[in-house]
Protein backbone atom coordinates (compact mmCIF):
# COMPACT_ATOMS: atom_id res chain seq x y z
CA UNK A 1 0.00 0.00 0.00
CA UNK A 2 1.25 3.49 -0.83
CA UNK A 3 2.28 5.33 2.33
CA UNK A 4 0.13 8.32 3.25
CA UNK A 5 3.24 10.42 3.77
CA UNK A 6 6.71 9.61 2.55
CA UNK A 7 9.68 11.85 3.27
CA UNK A 8 13.25 11.15 2.22
CA UNK A 9 16.40 13.08 3.00
CA UNK A 10 14.44 16.26 3.62
CA UNK A 11 16.56 19.35 4.28
CA UNK A 12 15.53 22.95 4.63
CA UNK A 13 17.96 25.82 4.97
CA UNK A 14 16.60 29.27 5.78
CA UNK A 15 18.92 32.28 5.42
CA UNK A 16 19.88 32.19 9.09
CA UNK A 17 19.01 28.71 10.26
CA UNK A 18 18.91 25.13 9.07
CA UNK A 19 15.44 23.95 10.01
CA UNK A 20 15.65 20.36 8.74
CA UNK A 21 18.82 18.28 8.53
CA UNK A 22 17.95 15.15 6.60
CA UNK A 23 14.61 13.79 7.75
CA UNK A 24 13.33 10.37 6.63
CA UNK A 25 9.82 9.46 7.61
CA UNK A 26 7.07 7.20 6.38
CA UNK A 27 3.51 7.30 7.70
CA UNK A 28 1.14 4.53 6.68
CA UNK A 29 -2.45 5.04 5.58
CA UNK A 30 -4.83 5.08 8.50
CA UNK A 31 -2.18 5.87 11.12
CA UNK A 32 -2.69 8.38 13.92
CA UNK A 33 0.80 9.82 14.07
CA UNK A 34 2.35 12.44 16.33
CA UNK A 35 5.24 14.67 15.43
CA UNK A 36 6.71 16.01 18.65
CA UNK A 37 9.54 18.35 19.44
CA UNK A 38 10.38 21.57 21.23
CA UNK A 39 9.79 24.95 19.58
CA UNK A 40 12.13 25.40 16.64
CA UNK A 41 12.67 21.67 16.14
CA UNK A 42 11.35 21.88 12.55
CA UNK A 43 7.84 20.48 12.94
CA UNK A 44 6.05 23.34 11.23
CA UNK A 45 8.72 23.53 8.51
CA UNK A 46 8.19 19.86 7.76
CA UNK A 47 4.43 20.33 7.56
CA UNK A 48 4.84 23.43 5.41
CA UNK A 49 6.92 21.47 2.90
CA UNK A 50 4.28 18.73 2.79
CA UNK A 51 1.60 21.35 2.19
CA UNK A 52 3.57 23.24 -0.47
CA UNK A 53 3.84 26.37 1.69
CA UNK A 54 7.61 25.97 1.78
CA UNK A 55 10.08 24.39 -0.61
CA UNK A 56 12.66 21.85 0.46
CA UNK A 57 16.34 22.64 -0.05
CA UNK A 58 17.03 18.96 -0.65
CA UNK A 59 15.20 15.66 -0.49
CA UNK A 60 11.63 14.87 -1.45
CA UNK A 61 8.21 14.54 0.07
CA UNK A 62 5.15 12.70 -1.18
CA UNK A 63 1.51 12.62 -0.07
CA UNK A 64 -0.32 9.44 -1.07
CA UNK A 65 2.42 8.81 -3.62
CA UNK A 66 2.24 12.27 -5.20
CA UNK A 67 5.35 14.44 -5.15
CA UNK A 68 4.51 17.73 -3.44
CA UNK A 69 6.41 19.78 -6.04
CA UNK A 70 6.19 17.90 -9.33
CA UNK A 71 2.65 16.63 -8.81
CA UNK A 72 1.47 19.41 -6.50
CA UNK A 73 -2.14 19.46 -7.63
CA UNK A 74 -2.73 15.81 -6.78
CA UNK A 75 -0.65 16.01 -3.60
CA UNK A 76 -2.65 19.00 -2.30
CA UNK A 77 -5.98 17.33 -3.04
CA UNK A 78 -4.95 14.50 -0.73
CA UNK A 79 -4.00 16.79 2.13
CA UNK A 80 -6.02 18.84 4.60
CA UNK A 81 -4.05 21.20 6.80
CA UNK A 82 -5.22 22.92 9.98
CA UNK A 83 -2.68 25.70 10.38
CA UNK A 84 -1.20 26.64 13.72
CA UNK A 85 -2.00 30.35 13.49
CA UNK A 86 -5.59 31.40 14.06
CA UNK A 87 -6.14 32.86 10.60
CA UNK A 88 -9.43 33.91 9.01
CA UNK A 89 -10.81 36.09 6.26
CA UNK A 90 -12.74 38.98 7.87
CA UNK A 91 -14.80 39.65 4.76
CA UNK A 92 -16.86 36.47 4.90
CA UNK A 93 -19.23 34.35 6.95
CA UNK A 94 -18.45 30.81 8.09
CA UNK A 95 -20.45 29.25 5.28
CA UNK A 96 -18.91 31.51 2.66
CA UNK A 97 -15.42 30.64 3.88
CA UNK A 98 -16.21 26.94 3.54
CA UNK A 99 -17.85 27.30 0.13
CA UNK A 100 -14.84 29.23 -1.16
CA UNK A 101 -12.44 26.67 0.23
CA UNK A 102 -14.32 23.83 -1.47
CA UNK A 103 -14.33 25.80 -4.71
CA UNK A 104 -10.55 26.36 -4.59
CA UNK A 105 -10.23 22.59 -4.53
CA UNK A 106 -12.31 22.42 -7.70
CA UNK A 107 -15.40 21.04 -5.99
CA UNK A 108 -18.94 21.92 -6.92
CA UNK A 109 -21.17 23.36 -4.24
CA UNK A 110 -21.84 20.61 -1.69
CA UNK A 111 -24.02 22.07 1.06
CA UNK A 112 -24.85 18.65 2.52
CA UNK A 113 -21.22 17.94 3.40
CA UNK A 114 -20.70 21.47 4.66
CA UNK A 115 -23.77 21.16 6.89
CA UNK A 116 -22.43 17.88 8.22
CA UNK A 117 -19.06 19.45 8.99
CA UNK A 118 -20.73 22.38 10.70
CA UNK A 119 -22.85 20.01 12.80
CA UNK A 120 -19.88 17.86 13.83
CA UNK A 121 -17.93 20.92 14.90
CA UNK A 122 -20.82 22.60 16.70
CA UNK A 123 -20.93 25.47 14.22
CA UNK A 124 -24.43 25.08 12.80
CA UNK A 125 -25.85 28.18 14.46
CA UNK A 126 -22.77 30.20 13.45
CA UNK A 127 -22.99 29.35 9.75
CA UNK A 128 -24.09 32.84 8.72
CA UNK A 129 -22.00 34.74 11.24
CA UNK A 130 -19.10 36.84 10.00
CA UNK A 131 -15.71 35.31 10.84
CA UNK A 132 -14.75 38.49 12.70
CA UNK A 133 -17.47 37.94 15.28
CA UNK A 134 -16.38 34.44 16.30
CA UNK A 135 -14.43 33.65 19.46
CA UNK A 136 -10.96 32.12 19.18
CA UNK A 137 -12.24 28.62 19.82
CA UNK A 138 -14.93 28.99 17.17
CA UNK A 139 -12.38 30.29 14.66
CA UNK A 140 -10.29 27.21 15.39
CA UNK A 141 -13.26 24.98 14.60
CA UNK A 142 -13.77 26.77 11.30
CA UNK A 143 -10.12 26.14 10.46
CA UNK A 144 -10.70 22.43 11.04
CA UNK A 145 -13.80 22.52 8.84
CA UNK A 146 -11.88 24.36 6.11
CA UNK A 147 -9.19 21.67 6.16
CA UNK A 148 -11.79 18.92 5.76
CA UNK A 149 -14.00 20.50 3.16
CA UNK A 150 -12.42 18.52 0.31
CA UNK A 151 -12.50 15.23 2.26
CA UNK A 152 -8.75 14.70 2.24
CA UNK A 153 -7.43 11.22 3.09
CA UNK A 154 -4.50 12.77 4.98
CA UNK A 155 -5.17 15.36 7.67
CA UNK A 156 -2.46 17.48 9.26
CA UNK A 157 -3.17 19.25 12.52
CA UNK A 158 -0.48 21.71 13.57
CA UNK A 159 -1.01 22.28 17.29
CA UNK A 160 -4.79 22.30 16.98
CA UNK A 161 -5.51 22.59 20.69
CA UNK A 162 -3.18 25.46 21.60
CA UNK A 163 -5.28 27.88 23.61
CA UNK A 164 -8.46 25.84 23.25
CA UNK A 165 -10.80 25.16 26.16
CA UNK A 166 -11.32 21.66 27.54
CA UNK A 167 -14.77 21.12 26.10
CA UNK A 168 -13.72 21.96 22.57
CA UNK A 169 -10.59 19.87 22.95
CA UNK A 170 -12.68 16.85 23.90
CA UNK A 171 -15.20 17.28 21.08
CA UNK A 172 -12.44 18.02 18.58
CA UNK A 173 -10.59 14.82 19.44
CA UNK A 174 -13.77 12.78 19.35
CA UNK A 175 -14.35 14.04 15.82
CA UNK A 176 -10.74 13.47 14.71
CA UNK A 177 -10.82 9.96 16.19
CA UNK A 178 -13.96 9.25 14.23
CA UNK A 179 -12.26 10.42 11.03
CA UNK A 180 -9.28 8.21 11.84
CA UNK A 181 -11.61 5.25 12.39
CA UNK A 182 -13.09 5.93 8.94
CA UNK A 183 -9.61 5.50 7.46
CA UNK A 184 -8.21 9.04 7.41
CA UNK A 185 -4.53 9.33 8.22
CA UNK A 186 -3.86 11.87 10.95
CA UNK A 187 -0.58 13.70 11.44
CA UNK A 188 -0.56 15.75 14.59
CA UNK A 189 1.89 18.11 16.21
CA UNK A 190 1.22 19.16 19.76
CA UNK A 191 2.82 20.39 22.94
CA UNK A 192 0.30 18.47 25.02
CA UNK A 193 2.07 15.13 25.28
CA UNK A 194 -0.75 13.41 27.12
CA UNK A 195 -2.87 14.04 24.00
CA UNK A 196 -0.27 12.38 21.80
CA UNK A 197 0.00 9.50 24.26
CA UNK A 198 -3.70 8.72 24.33
CA UNK A 199 -4.40 9.38 20.64
CA UNK A 200 -1.41 8.37 18.60
CA UNK A 201 -0.21 4.92 17.64
CA UNK A 202 3.19 6.12 16.55
CA UNK A 203 5.41 9.01 17.49
CA UNK A 204 8.37 10.80 15.96
CA UNK A 205 10.42 13.16 18.08
CA UNK A 206 12.23 15.94 16.33
CA UNK A 207 15.16 17.90 17.70
CA UNK A 208 17.05 20.60 15.81
CA UNK A 209 15.87 19.32 12.46
CA UNK A 210 16.59 15.64 13.05
CA UNK A 211 14.42 12.71 14.11
CA UNK A 212 15.79 11.49 17.45
CA UNK A 213 13.11 8.91 18.24
CA UNK A 214 10.64 7.10 16.01
CA UNK A 215 8.58 4.22 17.31
CA UNK A 216 5.14 3.12 18.36
CA UNK A 217 3.91 4.96 21.42
CA UNK A 218 3.75 1.68 23.36
CA UNK A 219 7.35 0.76 22.50
CA UNK A 220 8.64 4.20 23.39
CA UNK A 221 6.97 4.04 26.78
CA UNK A 222 8.19 0.51 27.41
CA UNK A 223 11.77 1.11 26.33
CA UNK A 224 12.31 4.61 27.58
CA UNK A 225 10.09 5.00 30.59
CA UNK A 226 11.72 4.59 34.01
CA UNK A 227 9.06 3.39 36.39
CA UNK A 228 9.15 4.70 39.93
CA UNK A 229 7.74 3.34 43.16
CA UNK A 230 6.80 5.92 45.74
CA UNK A 231 6.66 4.76 49.35
CA UNK A 232 5.83 6.50 52.62
CA UNK A 233 7.42 4.46 55.41
CA UNK A 234 7.01 4.29 59.17
CA UNK A 235 10.74 3.83 59.66
CA UNK A 236 14.04 4.24 57.82
CA UNK A 237 14.66 2.75 54.42
CA UNK A 238 16.15 -0.73 54.85
CA UNK A 239 19.65 -1.24 53.45
CA UNK A 240 18.55 -3.68 50.74
CA UNK A 241 16.52 -0.92 49.08
CA UNK A 242 19.31 1.68 49.10
CA UNK A 243 20.52 0.80 45.53
CA UNK A 244 17.05 1.63 44.20
CA UNK A 245 16.82 5.00 45.89
CA UNK A 246 16.25 7.85 43.46
CA UNK A 247 14.98 10.54 45.78
CA UNK A 248 13.67 11.30 49.25
CA UNK A 249 11.39 13.81 50.85
CA UNK A 250 10.92 13.26 54.58
CA UNK A 251 9.41 9.83 55.03
CA UNK A 252 8.62 9.55 51.32
CA UNK A 253 11.04 7.57 49.20
CA UNK A 254 11.22 7.40 45.41
CA UNK A 255 12.52 4.02 44.24
CA UNK A 256 13.52 2.62 40.88
CA UNK A 257 11.06 -0.06 39.71
CA UNK A 258 12.09 -1.38 36.28
CA UNK A 259 9.80 -4.40 36.62
CA UNK A 260 6.45 -4.78 38.33
CA UNK A 261 7.55 -8.27 39.46
CA UNK A 262 10.05 -6.66 41.85
CA UNK A 263 7.20 -5.18 43.84
CA UNK A 264 6.41 -8.38 45.70
CA UNK A 265 10.03 -8.85 46.86
CA UNK A 266 10.23 -5.24 48.01
CA UNK A 267 7.07 -5.50 50.11
CA UNK A 268 8.15 -8.86 51.58
CA UNK A 269 11.55 -7.37 52.48
CA UNK A 270 9.90 -4.42 54.21
CA UNK A 271 7.67 -6.72 56.23
CA UNK A 272 10.69 -8.78 57.28
CA UNK A 273 12.56 -5.64 58.32
CA UNK A 274 9.51 -4.59 60.34
CA UNK A 275 9.05 -1.30 58.47
CA UNK A 276 5.40 -0.37 58.04
CA UNK A 277 4.10 1.14 54.76
CA UNK A 278 1.84 4.14 55.18
CA UNK A 279 1.33 4.91 51.50
CA UNK A 280 2.35 3.40 48.18
CA UNK A 281 1.98 4.40 44.56
CA UNK A 282 3.48 3.28 41.28
CA UNK A 283 4.04 5.92 38.60
CA UNK A 284 2.20 5.43 35.31
CA UNK A 285 4.13 5.47 32.02
CA UNK A 286 4.20 9.02 30.80
CA UNK A 287 5.19 10.23 27.35
CA UNK A 288 6.22 13.55 28.82
CA UNK A 289 8.97 11.90 30.87
CA UNK A 290 10.08 9.90 27.84
CA UNK A 291 10.10 13.08 25.76
CA UNK A 292 12.25 14.95 28.26
CA UNK A 293 14.65 12.02 28.50
CA UNK A 294 14.94 11.65 24.73
CA UNK A 295 15.53 15.38 24.27
CA UNK A 296 18.21 15.40 26.96
CA UNK A 297 20.02 12.34 25.64
CA UNK A 298 19.84 13.13 21.93
CA UNK A 299 23.16 14.30 20.58
CA UNK A 300 22.92 17.89 19.39
Amino acid sequence: MIPAVSIRGLEKVFPRVQALRGVDLEIGQGEFFALLGPNGAGKTTLISILAGLARATAGKAEVMGHDVVRDYRQARRQLGVVPQELVFDPFFTVREALLFQAGYFGLRRDDAWIDELLAHLGLTDKADTNMRRLSGGMKRRVLVAQALVHRPPVIVLDEPTAGVDVELRQSLWAFIRQLNAQGHTILLTTHYLEEAQTLCQRVAMLKEGRIVALDSTANLLRARYERRLELELEGDLPAFLQPRLKGREGARYLLDLPDYADLEGILAGLRQAGVGVRDLSVGQPDLEDVFIKVMREAAP
Binding site: A51, L53, R55, V81, A102, F105
Partner: protein, 251 residues
Protein backbone atom coordinates in the same frame (compact mmCIF):
# COMPACT_ATOMS: atom_id res chain seq x y z
CA UNK B 1 -11.80 26.00 -13.87
CA UNK B 2 -13.94 25.86 -10.71
CA UNK B 3 -10.87 26.87 -8.73
CA UNK B 4 -10.32 29.94 -10.89
CA UNK B 5 -13.98 30.97 -10.81
CA UNK B 6 -14.15 30.61 -7.06
CA UNK B 7 -11.07 32.72 -6.47
CA UNK B 8 -12.25 35.31 -8.99
CA UNK B 9 -15.65 35.47 -7.31
CA UNK B 10 -14.02 35.78 -3.90
CA UNK B 11 -11.85 38.67 -5.13
CA UNK B 12 -14.88 40.45 -6.61
CA UNK B 13 -16.92 39.98 -3.41
CA UNK B 14 -14.00 41.22 -1.34
CA UNK B 15 -14.36 44.73 -2.76
CA UNK B 16 -18.07 44.50 -3.45
CA UNK B 17 -18.82 43.95 0.24
CA UNK B 18 -17.13 47.26 1.09
CA UNK B 19 -18.46 49.17 -1.89
CA UNK B 20 -18.44 52.48 -0.07
CA UNK B 21 -14.67 52.59 0.33
CA UNK B 22 -13.68 50.65 -2.75
CA UNK B 23 -15.99 52.08 -5.40
CA UNK B 24 -17.97 55.05 -4.11
CA UNK B 25 -14.96 56.81 -2.54
CA UNK B 26 -12.78 56.92 -5.69
CA UNK B 27 -15.76 58.10 -7.74
CA UNK B 28 -16.37 60.88 -5.24
CA UNK B 29 -12.71 61.90 -5.48
CA UNK B 30 -12.97 62.13 -9.26
CA UNK B 31 -16.17 64.11 -8.88
CA UNK B 32 -14.32 66.65 -6.70
CA UNK B 33 -11.54 67.00 -9.28
CA UNK B 34 -14.14 67.63 -11.94
CA UNK B 35 -16.02 70.12 -9.84
CA UNK B 36 -12.94 72.19 -9.04
CA UNK B 37 -11.02 71.99 -12.30
CA UNK B 38 -14.02 72.49 -14.55
CA UNK B 39 -15.09 75.49 -12.52
CA UNK B 40 -11.64 77.09 -12.45
CA UNK B 41 -10.23 76.19 -15.85
CA UNK B 42 -13.12 75.69 -18.26
CA UNK B 43 -13.02 79.30 -19.46
CA UNK B 44 -9.22 79.58 -19.61
CA UNK B 45 -7.80 76.42 -21.15
CA UNK B 46 -8.47 74.84 -24.46
CA UNK B 47 -6.16 72.03 -25.49
CA UNK B 48 -7.76 70.77 -28.69
CA UNK B 49 -9.93 72.94 -30.92
CA UNK B 50 -13.61 72.43 -30.20
CA UNK B 51 -12.96 70.42 -27.02
CA UNK B 52 -13.76 72.14 -23.75
CA UNK B 53 -11.38 71.70 -20.84
CA UNK B 54 -13.83 69.65 -18.78
CA UNK B 55 -14.37 67.29 -21.70
CA UNK B 56 -10.59 67.11 -22.20
CA UNK B 57 -10.08 66.30 -18.54
CA UNK B 58 -12.66 63.51 -18.45
CA UNK B 59 -10.79 60.68 -20.21
CA UNK B 60 -7.69 61.41 -18.14
CA UNK B 61 -9.63 61.27 -14.89
CA UNK B 62 -11.45 58.11 -15.93
CA UNK B 63 -8.21 56.41 -16.87
CA UNK B 64 -6.40 57.61 -13.75
CA UNK B 65 -9.18 56.27 -11.51
CA UNK B 66 -9.24 53.00 -13.42
CA UNK B 67 -5.49 52.51 -13.10
CA UNK B 68 -5.16 53.51 -9.46
CA UNK B 69 -8.01 51.25 -8.42
CA UNK B 70 -6.88 48.25 -10.44
CA UNK B 71 -3.55 48.62 -8.66
CA UNK B 72 -5.19 49.14 -5.27
CA UNK B 73 -7.36 46.05 -5.59
CA UNK B 74 -4.76 43.41 -6.34
CA UNK B 75 -2.07 44.94 -4.14
CA UNK B 76 -4.25 45.45 -1.06
CA UNK B 77 -5.89 42.05 -1.35
CA UNK B 78 -2.52 40.32 -1.41
CA UNK B 79 -0.85 42.34 1.32
CA UNK B 80 -3.86 42.00 3.63
CA UNK B 81 -3.92 38.24 3.13
CA UNK B 82 -0.18 38.01 3.68
CA UNK B 83 -0.20 40.09 6.84
CA UNK B 84 -3.26 38.45 8.41
CA UNK B 85 -1.98 35.04 7.30
CA UNK B 86 -5.16 33.99 5.52
CA UNK B 87 -3.16 33.74 2.29
CA UNK B 88 -2.76 30.05 3.30
CA UNK B 89 -6.37 29.48 2.24
CA UNK B 90 -5.36 30.09 -1.38
CA UNK B 91 -1.88 28.57 -1.11
CA UNK B 92 -3.00 25.19 0.26
CA UNK B 93 -5.46 24.29 -2.54
CA UNK B 94 -4.34 22.88 -5.88
CA UNK B 95 -4.79 26.18 -7.73
CA UNK B 96 -2.38 26.52 -10.63
CA UNK B 97 -0.31 29.71 -10.78
CA UNK B 98 -2.19 30.61 -13.98
CA UNK B 99 -5.57 30.34 -12.19
CA UNK B 100 -4.16 32.37 -9.32
CA UNK B 101 -2.88 35.04 -11.70
CA UNK B 102 -6.06 35.32 -13.77
CA UNK B 103 -8.35 35.48 -10.75
CA UNK B 104 -6.49 38.31 -9.01
CA UNK B 105 -5.70 40.18 -12.22
CA UNK B 106 -9.21 40.04 -13.69
CA UNK B 107 -10.89 40.99 -10.41
CA UNK B 108 -8.61 44.03 -10.17
CA UNK B 109 -9.40 44.88 -13.78
CA UNK B 110 -13.12 44.61 -13.09
CA UNK B 111 -12.84 47.02 -10.15
CA UNK B 112 -10.87 49.45 -12.32
CA UNK B 113 -13.46 49.27 -15.09
CA UNK B 114 -16.43 49.67 -12.72
CA UNK B 115 -14.89 52.79 -11.21
CA UNK B 116 -13.82 54.12 -14.59
CA UNK B 117 -17.40 53.73 -15.84
CA UNK B 118 -18.70 55.38 -12.65
CA UNK B 119 -16.44 58.40 -13.11
CA UNK B 120 -17.55 58.68 -16.73
CA UNK B 121 -21.21 58.65 -15.74
CA UNK B 122 -20.64 61.30 -13.08
CA UNK B 123 -18.71 63.37 -15.64
CA UNK B 124 -21.66 63.39 -18.00
CA UNK B 125 -23.41 65.72 -15.56
CA UNK B 126 -20.66 68.26 -16.22
CA UNK B 127 -20.09 68.04 -19.93
CA UNK B 128 -21.12 66.27 -23.09
CA UNK B 129 -18.71 63.68 -24.36
CA UNK B 130 -17.97 62.56 -27.88
CA UNK B 131 -17.39 58.86 -28.54
CA UNK B 132 -15.46 58.83 -31.79
CA UNK B 133 -13.73 55.44 -31.57
CA UNK B 134 -15.30 53.19 -28.89
CA UNK B 135 -12.99 50.31 -29.79
CA UNK B 136 -9.92 52.38 -28.97
CA UNK B 137 -11.54 53.39 -25.68
CA UNK B 138 -12.17 49.77 -24.81
CA UNK B 139 -8.76 48.57 -25.99
CA UNK B 140 -6.84 51.15 -23.95
CA UNK B 141 -9.04 50.58 -20.88
CA UNK B 142 -8.45 46.82 -20.94
CA UNK B 143 -4.77 46.80 -21.79
CA UNK B 144 -3.86 49.64 -19.42
CA UNK B 145 -5.95 48.16 -16.60
CA UNK B 146 -4.14 44.88 -17.08
CA UNK B 147 -0.78 46.61 -16.60
CA UNK B 148 -1.80 48.16 -13.28
CA UNK B 149 -3.59 45.04 -12.04
CA UNK B 150 -0.33 43.16 -12.63
CA UNK B 151 1.85 45.86 -11.08
CA UNK B 152 -0.50 45.70 -8.08
CA UNK B 153 0.06 41.97 -7.80
CA UNK B 154 3.82 42.36 -8.09
CA UNK B 155 3.81 45.05 -5.41
CA UNK B 156 1.46 43.06 -3.17
CA UNK B 157 3.64 39.97 -3.40
CA UNK B 158 6.86 41.89 -2.93
CA UNK B 159 5.73 44.12 -0.05
CA UNK B 160 6.19 42.76 3.46
CA UNK B 161 4.25 45.50 5.23
CA UNK B 162 1.79 48.24 4.42
CA UNK B 163 4.63 50.81 4.43
CA UNK B 164 6.25 49.13 1.45
CA UNK B 165 3.02 49.29 -0.46
CA UNK B 166 2.40 52.92 0.48
CA UNK B 167 5.90 53.64 -0.81
CA UNK B 168 5.11 52.16 -4.21
CA UNK B 169 1.82 54.00 -4.31
CA UNK B 170 3.21 57.40 -3.34
CA UNK B 171 6.55 57.32 -5.13
CA UNK B 172 5.72 55.37 -8.28
CA UNK B 173 2.02 55.12 -9.01
CA UNK B 174 1.01 58.68 -8.08
CA UNK B 175 3.84 60.49 -9.95
CA UNK B 176 3.45 58.27 -13.02
CA UNK B 177 -0.29 58.91 -13.21
CA UNK B 178 -0.15 62.63 -12.38
CA UNK B 179 2.73 63.31 -14.79
CA UNK B 180 1.05 61.59 -17.68
CA UNK B 181 -1.16 64.30 -19.09
CA UNK B 182 -4.29 63.68 -17.08
CA UNK B 183 -4.77 67.40 -16.50
CA UNK B 184 -2.94 68.85 -19.50
CA UNK B 185 -1.56 68.06 -22.93
CA UNK B 186 2.15 67.34 -22.70
CA UNK B 187 2.58 69.78 -25.59
CA UNK B 188 2.04 72.51 -23.07
CA UNK B 189 5.13 71.32 -21.14
CA UNK B 190 8.71 72.57 -21.65
CA UNK B 191 10.60 70.51 -24.24
CA UNK B 192 12.60 68.60 -21.61
CA UNK B 193 9.54 67.40 -19.68
CA UNK B 194 7.81 66.57 -22.93
CA UNK B 195 10.72 64.27 -23.69
CA UNK B 196 10.57 62.73 -20.21
CA UNK B 197 6.83 62.13 -20.55
CA UNK B 198 7.47 59.95 -23.58
CA UNK B 199 9.17 57.43 -21.29
CA UNK B 200 6.09 57.21 -19.10
CA UNK B 201 3.83 54.37 -20.27
CA UNK B 202 0.89 55.97 -18.48
CA UNK B 203 1.14 58.91 -20.86
CA UNK B 204 0.38 56.55 -23.78
CA UNK B 205 -2.47 54.94 -21.86
CA UNK B 206 -4.21 58.25 -21.28
CA UNK B 207 -3.39 59.70 -24.68
CA UNK B 208 -4.71 56.65 -26.55
CA UNK B 209 -7.79 56.56 -24.35
CA UNK B 210 -8.43 60.24 -25.07
CA UNK B 211 -8.05 59.60 -28.79
CA UNK B 212 -10.96 57.17 -28.54
CA UNK B 213 -13.21 60.00 -27.32
CA UNK B 214 -12.11 62.95 -29.48
CA UNK B 215 -10.29 61.44 -32.45
CA UNK B 216 -7.33 63.74 -31.67
CA UNK B 217 -4.42 63.15 -29.33
CA UNK B 218 -0.74 63.94 -28.82
CA UNK B 219 0.54 60.75 -30.46
CA UNK B 220 -0.83 58.15 -32.86
CA UNK B 221 -2.96 55.57 -30.96
CA UNK B 222 -1.18 52.73 -32.74
CA UNK B 223 2.11 53.98 -31.33
CA UNK B 224 0.41 54.12 -27.92
CA UNK B 225 -0.80 50.58 -28.27
CA UNK B 226 2.66 49.50 -29.40
CA UNK B 227 3.97 50.80 -26.07
CA UNK B 228 1.13 49.74 -23.75
CA UNK B 229 0.45 46.23 -25.09
CA UNK B 230 4.06 45.02 -24.62
CA UNK B 231 4.04 46.63 -21.17
CA UNK B 232 0.95 44.59 -20.32
CA UNK B 233 2.61 41.45 -21.63
CA UNK B 234 5.83 42.09 -19.72
CA UNK B 235 4.04 42.84 -16.44
CA UNK B 236 1.90 39.71 -16.87
CA UNK B 237 4.98 37.58 -17.49
CA UNK B 238 6.75 39.07 -14.49
CA UNK B 239 3.73 38.33 -12.27
CA UNK B 240 3.43 34.79 -13.60
CA UNK B 241 7.12 34.19 -13.06
CA UNK B 242 6.84 35.40 -9.45
CA UNK B 243 3.86 33.13 -8.80
CA UNK B 244 5.52 30.17 -10.45
CA UNK B 245 8.73 30.55 -8.49
CA UNK B 246 6.78 31.05 -5.27
CA UNK B 247 8.64 34.33 -4.68
CA UNK B 248 7.84 35.57 -1.16
CA UNK B 249 4.72 33.39 -1.05
CA UNK B 250 6.11 29.88 -0.74
CA UNK B 251 9.27 30.03 1.34
Amino acid sequence: MIGFWTLFKKEILRFWKVLLQTVAAPILTAFLYLLIFSHVLEAHVQVYPGVGYTAFLMPGLVMMSLLQNAFANSSSSLIQSKITGNIVFVLLPPLSYMEFFLAYMLAALVRGLVIGAGVLVVGLFFTEMQLRHPLWILAFALVSGTVFACVGMVAGIWAEKFDHLAGVQNFAIMPLTFLSGVFYSIHSLPAFWQGVSHFNPVFYMIDGFRYGFFGVADVDPWLGLAVVAPTALASSLLTLWMLRSGYKLRH
